[in-house]
Amino acid sequence: MQIIKTDVAIIGAGGSGLRAAIEIAENHPNLEIALISKVYPMRSHTVAAEGGAAGVAQDHDSLDNHFNDTVSGGDWLCEQDVVEYFVENAAKQLTQLEHWGCPWSRKEDGSINVRAFGGMKIERTWFAADKSGFHILHTLFQTSIKHPKITRFDEHFCLDLLVEDNKIQGVVILDIAEGEAKLIQAKSVIMATGGAGRVYSYNTNGGIVTGDGMALAYRHGVALRDMEFVQYHPTGLPGTGILMTEGCRGEGGILVNKNGYRYLQDYGLGPEVPVGQTKNKYMELGPRDKLSQCFWQEQQKGNVFKGTRGDYIHLDLRHLGEEKINERLPFIRELAKAYVGVDPVHEPIPVRPTVHYTMGGIETNANTATSLAGLYAIGECASVGLHGANRLGSNSLTELAVFGQLAGQEAANYALNTEHKDVTALQKQAEAIIARTEALLHSKGSEKMADIRLEMGDCMEEGVGIYRTQESMQKTIDKLAELKERYKNIHIADKSSVFNTEFLYAIELGYLLDTAEAMAHSAIKRQESRGSHQRIDGFDKRDDQNFLKHSLAYYQADKAPKIEYSAVTITKSQPAERVYGAASEKPSAEPEQAEAASETINSAQEEV
């Protein structure tokens, strides 16, 4: 087994991992960095983000506005000190990306342009047409090439973490092409592996988004926080789940049901804003959780279209005109033409909610440190406390830059004050990990992997979807327990060592099942409705008395995870009613009216 000594190991080379790597290389040229990814960095799922990155950019906007939008958008489950740090550093870190070459869309005078986004009071979303994530990722990847101290391990799969003396000491990785395991001995480790959207059947995520880092940290005793909060993006293509950016609506696109009616006005998001105009926090510029819930309501009422790939509604961009669509949304046009045969210049696009983002993740403090000494976590795999119960679109690309930079500093400082331990104990651990891995490869099971994966995705959609009940969640929990048992008897036909993707899928499926279990168990214990976690079994209101707190899921091997809770940090925004549309204009001195508006969705629920 090859042993490689480094100072900081980073697992995942998407937006946050690359940003952290560059931060260390720029400021600590003496430190060695191992940047490990199961794909080439530019394949990372950051590449698929479309809409943009939030950071205050206009004179009539303020950090307080961005803070308030984020905290209320998160239904007051955000760590407010973290949000304060985030909004203060957002524009600065987006500027850093600009200096490195990111082609942000510009105004005529050459300054940065911003677009409207859901739940944001003032336009502050920096965008690179509708390929913002693509440009951020390639900019960061190409900039990282400048730094010789960043040693990349492309197409190396992380098998496990090495923990000794209650500190992280490195990782064991598998060279996918060679089939050879390597021990990376590191002083600190940054987890930057992205989300876990692939636990659901219909999602906007790439095939690689399998919760690897979440599951690895979780299995080593680190809590997964707020895992019940899973974001459904309101506009994915039916069947494939391919993302139609919120930027479509930011530019003025509208949502209509099968009767051609803009139904959002019926759910506390109106009054209707005339076609061709946009009004921030109204109608189509409401937050994602609410818009996805509205779709479900319309579905119950029978107001949606029925298609061969499931129910859908229409996202209509026609009134924007060809020129604007080509300038601002060229990728959307390309995708709609290719995948549903619709040219949005001439026809509305069929869309439906699909799983998009995991708000929860590996619990970290405000400085990205986890409870395991030396281990840091950033980006979608982490829960630094930014998104609360519902993420606002365009906050997560900025998160990559802001917390990637911070984690780089923190992990570097930790490494500077730490020595490599004797490698013998780590070697022994690594050998045990490899033996365990080989046992899985050479197991003689009979369970078909594709069946387990499919049943997992379907039971998550059914039980832990847009609306949840005790019964639905319990069914999912039981199903997941069954699938975990069947997984132990999984069939792997391919026993070879060169680029054995079947074997990797099997390991990933194990990561997915553990992550799914943390989600379902966290969800059933939260007896209230907040943000993306909505219940229709008597717990349909927010309950600050009992649940203004984070859930923490702890791994218990073959038993159900242990769910504990921790306090939410509140600095300057006391929990209030979360309202959009006209109700958001009311001063907070009129709580009753605000409450009435916010309950519109719930009362509509009772009609079904």
Binding site: V39, S44, E98, H99, P103, R106, S111, K131, A338
Partner: protein
């Protein structure tokens, strides 16, 4: 009614098991909106789990799933069965790259080339973040934007007859990336990159067949980038004659 199917030939090669590549044929249920990638996923899930191919985003942006579809370099996720049915589809690994296994090719040479051309902004002087962003008008951005759209899928290398003859040739995508940075108003690294451009393996390796631009799934038009660089390179040469460094 029996559901209709489509035949898919796949060039298989597992270095540990197979002496040389061979073709395996699969029958897959036909659906007009099925992509080649979805057909491959069907095969892996239901017919033969040992087949290996790269993929991730399914939406033609991550650049993972380049392969030869009936002899033409394409992204598997953006090639559709409807365009071949009822004829069979033949899938092979990207041409001009060594086969790692099945449809997976060795990308090392391409990645090494990409790393060699200083693909990052080389500023005139360091600009502090307090100074804010650079001014760059839409017209200035227009000069390089198209060349910044490359997803590194490798299709243009599979299409390039020069790269097929001599893999020392820098090749279309990487030359386009040079043009992307050279033409960016924030960059002052032209002189450093022109040394690479001016070499025989640089732009002058290109015989302007233009097939790279035909197969590019993102309309980057690397052939146009190379022509622009040839003009720059010629100017460089002339200036060099009068002002040798």
């Amino acid at each position: 009614m029996t559901e209709s199917t489509i035949s898919i030939d796949i060039l298989r090669y597992r270095p540990e098991n197979d002496e040389k590549p061979f073709t395996q044929t699969f029958e897959v249920p036909y659906s007009p909106d099925f992509s080649v990638l979805e057909a491959l996923q069907y095969i892996k899930d239901h017919l033969d789990s040992t087949i290996s191919f790269r993929w991730s985003c399914r939406m033609a942006i991550c650049g993972s799933c380049g392969m030869m579809v009936n002899g033409v370099p394409k992204l598997g996720c953006k090639a559709f069965l409807r365009d071949y049915y009822p004829n069979k589809v033949s899938l092979e690994p990207l041409a001009n790259f060594p086969i790692e296994r099945d449809l997976v090719v060795v990308m090392d040479d391409f990645v090494n080339k990409l790393e060699s051309i200083k693909p990052y902004i080389i500023p005139e002087k360091e600009k502090s973040l307090d100074e804010g962003t650079y001014q760059q008008t839409p017209l200035q951005m227009e000069l390089y934007k198209q060349f910044s759209m490359c997803i590194n899928c490798g299709l243009c290398y599979a299409a390039c007859p020069q790269y097929a003859l001599d893999d020392k040739f820098t090749g279309p995508a990487v030359l386009a990336l040079i043009a992307r940075y050279n033409r960016d108003s924030r960059d002052h690294g032209v002189a450093e990159r022109m040394k690479i451009v001016n070499q025989e393996e640089g732009v002058w390796g290109c015989t302007f067949v233009g097939y790279c631009s035909v197969v590019c799934p993102k309309d980057v038009d690397p052939a146009a980038a190379i022509q622009l660089l040839k003009v720059e390179s010629s100017k460089d040469y002339l200036i060099g004659m009068f002002k040798p460094d």
